[in-house]
């Protein structure tokens, strides 16, 4: 038995599957693209690629925040509320005061700062008071959204400060088509950069390994000397920061600041992270898997539109995908615990 496991691990099939089922996700994406492409050849085109890129770029940043939290054994449902609070808040603030109106950089820094503040709220309740993460973030989600609508504003704002306005039409690629142009915003670059940074953080820093350790067994992490409290504070503050940036990306991209947006869309991101191999029980998950999960969900939503499936079915489909992802995890855990074939393999 002990010799069999490493032998299996060396098999190419096993390696292709990836430690978080990345291989399976790639396969899903390819198969889906082929199927949709055969029923509608306009699918295989640059505009599709750009659409999926645009749809993914903010979600992938939200997903990085959720990934870190899920790996640590928690769950967050407040990130969208933080995102829209930061994004919409910055537009209101800058329009109102004129501070930093000429620079998109200032806008993003402000959004990041707001994200950090709101993340601290989660961190305080979760790390210091040791409250359950789902309940805390459900609460903060409602509080943040309530404060946004009551005190910051409830109107849709079409006019942006100069700097953000310019950024919103700064495209990396534009595809001209018969039905109009499709574009991909330059913001895809910082989104990719954030993914790389989170990946490095999780894999090559003691802090990042501490997040996995806490997700594996918090008590053991404490006994091993990991600063559990500090790490948890970091996790929720950093997630707030990422959510703030992602919210700003969203507001910039849609060119219309709507405080009612984002909240309610948590499912897409959480589903993407779980399908990407992160364990809801904590301790497992990767950036590559999460990115593939986000792309898969964007692809499915895009294809459903293309295939003429009513929009109302999109949520149901994402929900179904979430269940499939969770079941796949549960099944793989069960299969690893399978009984050893005693008759064949018992020690001599």
């Amino acid at each position: 038995m002990s010799a069999l496991v490493p032998a299996l691990r060396r098999l190419p099939v096993h390696r292709l599957r990836g430690s978080n089922n990345e291989g399976v996700l790639v396969l899903c994406i390819i198969v889906l693209s082929l199927v949709v492409g055969f029923s509608d050849s306009s699918f295989w085109s640059l505009p599709t690629l750009l659409n999926i890129g645009s749809a993914s770029l903010e979600n992938v940043v939200f997903a990085m925040a959720v990934l870190i939290i899920i790996v640590s054994g928690g769950i967050d449902v407040s990130f969208m509320a933080i995102g829209i609070f930061a994004g919409y808040g910055v537009i209101v603030m800058t329009n109102h005061t004129g501070f930093g109106a000429s620079s998109a950089w200032v806008g993003f820094l402000l959004a990041a700062g707001i994200g950090i503040l709101l993340g601290t709220l989660n961190a305080a309740a979760i790390a210091a008071l040791r409250l359950p993460t789902l309940i805390v973030t459900l609460g903060t989600q409602s509080i943040i959204r309530g404060v946004l609508l009551a005190y910051v504003g409830a109107k849709v704002i079409p006019n942006y400060p100069h700097g953000l306005d310019k950024l919103s039409t700064n495209y990396l690629v534009t595809a001209h088509g018969s039905g109009g142009d499709t574009r991909l915003n330059i913001l895809i670059l910082p989104a990719v950069l954030i993914c790389v940074a989170v990946s490095l953080l999780l894999r090559y820093t003691t802090l990042g390994r501490g997040i996995y350790a806490i997700g594996g067994d918090p008590e053991s992490a404490r006994r091993a000397g990991f600063p559990v409290f500090g790490t948890q504070v970091f996790i929720y503050v950093f997630a707030g920061l990422l959510a703030g940036i992602a919210g700003m990306m969203h507001v910039t991209q849609v060119q219309l600041a709507n405080p009612y947006e984002l909240v309610g869309g948590e499912l897409d991101v959480i589903a993407a992270v779980v399908i990407g191999g992160a364990s809801i029980f904590g301790g497992r998950g990767s950036v590559s898997g999460t990115v593939l999960g986000v792309v898969l969900i964007a692809l499915i939503k895009n294809s459903l539109i293309l295939l003429g499936v009513p929009g109302t079915w999109q949520r149901a489909t994402v929900g179904l995908l979430l269940l499939v992802g969770v079941s796949a995890q549960a099944l793989s855990v069960r299969s690893r615990r399978q009984h050893v074939d005693v008759l064949a393999e018992a020690p001599a």
Partner: protein, 498 residues
Amino acid sequence: MTEEQPLLVAGSLSKSFGGVAALDNVTLEVRPGEVHCLVGENGSGKSTLIKVISGVETPDSGTITMDGQAFARLTPRQAISLGIEVIYQDFSLFPNLSVAENIAVATYVAGGQRTVRPRDLRRSAAEVVARIGVHLDLDARVEELTVADRQLTAICRALARDARVIFMDEPTTALTWREVQALFRVVQSLKESGVALVFVSHKLDEVLRVSDRITVLRNGAVTVTGDVSQFDRPAIVKAMTGMVLTDTSPADSVRSDHAPLLEVEHLGLRGLFEDVSFAVRPGEVLGVTGLLGSGRTEIAEALFGVAPADHGSVRVDGKQVRLHSVRDAIAAGIGYVPGDRLTQGVFLDQAISVNVIAGSLDRLVGRLNLLRRGKAQRMVDDAASELRIRMSSASAPVRSLSGGNQQRVVLAKWLARDPRVLILNSPTVGVDVGSKSEILDMLRAKGREGMAIVVISDDVPELVAVCHRVLVVRRGRISDELAGERLNEQAILKELAA
């Protein structure tokens, strides 16, 4: 090495919780390269002593001296940096991380390093593993490992942090006989490199075999300490309990004139065991032993319908029964006390009374399926007095009880149903000596009442003390049956090792 300078001295440590003395002037001396065994019943203060020495608890008075340097108290970090390591029963590993990371990552944390290079991690883990000469798959996730390999991983982690004294809490409990031998070889190589080991163990035979010196605790105080050569089994038991306990032989209760109560014929489950046949008469206690992974637990689980057999037949009291589910087994009059008490046997956070009646609710309900409280209360009272469960109140959670008393609650739950056949898997694991002998007495008594009992165990003295016959399972088949003259400790050990 008798007069060597001690490495660690816990001097006159006292600690009380809420006025109750958990440690009373306890002195423990550990010399370099020795195996020191700390024995005592549950609640004797062993855990508190370890916690104080490793910095988890603060002593009220006394000193901890490491290498001649005295401390009034230690923090967990200080203890680790001095080389004091504790391997708890749960090992405190990260199931989701690789073996290499589990071994090496704590040194990174302790060293205050900010970045981790997987290659360095693996290399330093490989060095430690090679040092004690064991084989571990460094890339496997810990959750995929056997208990024995997890323990080796925990030992390697301690060594990676330059451990000089390693405390091991019940290190052999979950190991098979063969794995215990492997552990002892590792212990031998650690001793030679000057590392001291302190074992906390209930298994007296192993204590006597592997230790150099023994310290016995009772009620928070040291009753005796000295070289292992000065002790034999009864002497240790007496020091632990204050009484003289003898392992008696099985009760003369087999009703050989009766037809067997349980008859198992050619039972098999693909890949796990096959062609298992035996019969148990009323009053008979049948032992089943084998290495962990031999199929002994699987046979028991098949008889209780947990993982039903796929061929063969089972008769209870002469009647053929279908055992496709736990319900079937209970209906047939079979009770099963599982091996993993904590996860399968009890509801830890529920009251003792709730646990006792949990298996017999159908017998306690009146009209409208409502629970009859008076009847339930009587059942709990009867069980508590028959099994001598020591508890403050029947509404206290089972978690608050000692291991021995928890096991009595599990037994009470099944005995409340009055099963015809009772199957027990490792009934005395993690149970102190006093409770153990009472549990065995209880089994003998149930035998006398005419119950058919099957005990699955690898505790050899226990098998000899309570069983009329012992079946040895190897590779999913019954390889031998020991009875009468042939039923003794040496014979069983030889069969297990073969």
